[in-house]
Subunit: 110 residues, 2 copies
DNA sequence: ATTGTTCATCGCAAATGTACGATGATTATT
DNA sequence: AATAATCATCGTACATTTGCGATGAACAAT
């Protein structure tokens, strides 16, 4: 991937929402987030019972969600509790709501 | 990527939102969608003036958005008009709103 | 007929993503 | 001290994504 001088042209909001979206771009990570958000609060790798994936793979997905800022992990040996990162969750909610604010429910095109 | 028998385990909603999210997972595509959604309606490769990318690359991003169902293209030679795919736009809006419906704005964790 | 415009697609290169098993680190329990 | 449980990380394999230039297809205007 050649990169030129120009790739700095995106606004912060654009970068932020695309980062969140990218993290949401895999069904396993959607499942994880839905679990965390239902489970009024924290959670851990009981996810393994829900996801048809190896433990290491789930761990990797959790890492990506953490790096995207959507969740946070709290070590609680020998377990780890994962929670929704409330601040960024609100941020994401707002950014997506803003993206989809236009309503094209009536005949829209052209 | 080894695939085993189990990868069929995701619900339709989960697959759908992750497909949309994946398509939103790149800043260039966010820009494109914002343009289409502001521009009350259709559009074409004036996107080239907005995006720091080669024409072929932009075309590829448009293709991905089309395949994800978020936009549709209408040939109008020698140009192509792109529009938000209203039905799927509404669907996406609903799915994201549902995902983020829980409110973690007050102290949430554990 | 030739030329120009607009756009998609192909082929390539490099980067990232997805998945797994194996191994290791940490702590609790025996 | 030894074992078990929980989770992260490493290494590997393969797929997908991202980007570009080059080429081609479709049509309009000359």
């Amino acid at each position: 991937m050649k990169r030129t001088a120009q790739d700095i042209e995106y606004s912060q909001d654009t970068l932020t929402i695309s980062k969140f979206a990218k993290a949401l771009g895999h069904p396993a990570r959607i499942i994880i987030l839905k679990h965390l958000s239902n489970q009024s609060c924290c959670f851990t790798g009981d996810l393994l019972e829900v996801l048809p994936l190896a433990q290491s793979t789930v761990s990797q997905h959790l890492k990506e969600l953490k790096e995207a800022g959507l969740i946070e992990g709290e070590v609680n040996p020998p377990k780890v509790k994962y929670c929704i990162h409330s601040e960024n969750w609100q941020l994401a909610k707002g950014l997506f709501a803003d993206l989809f604010k236009e309503d094209f429910s009536k005949i829209s095109c052209c």
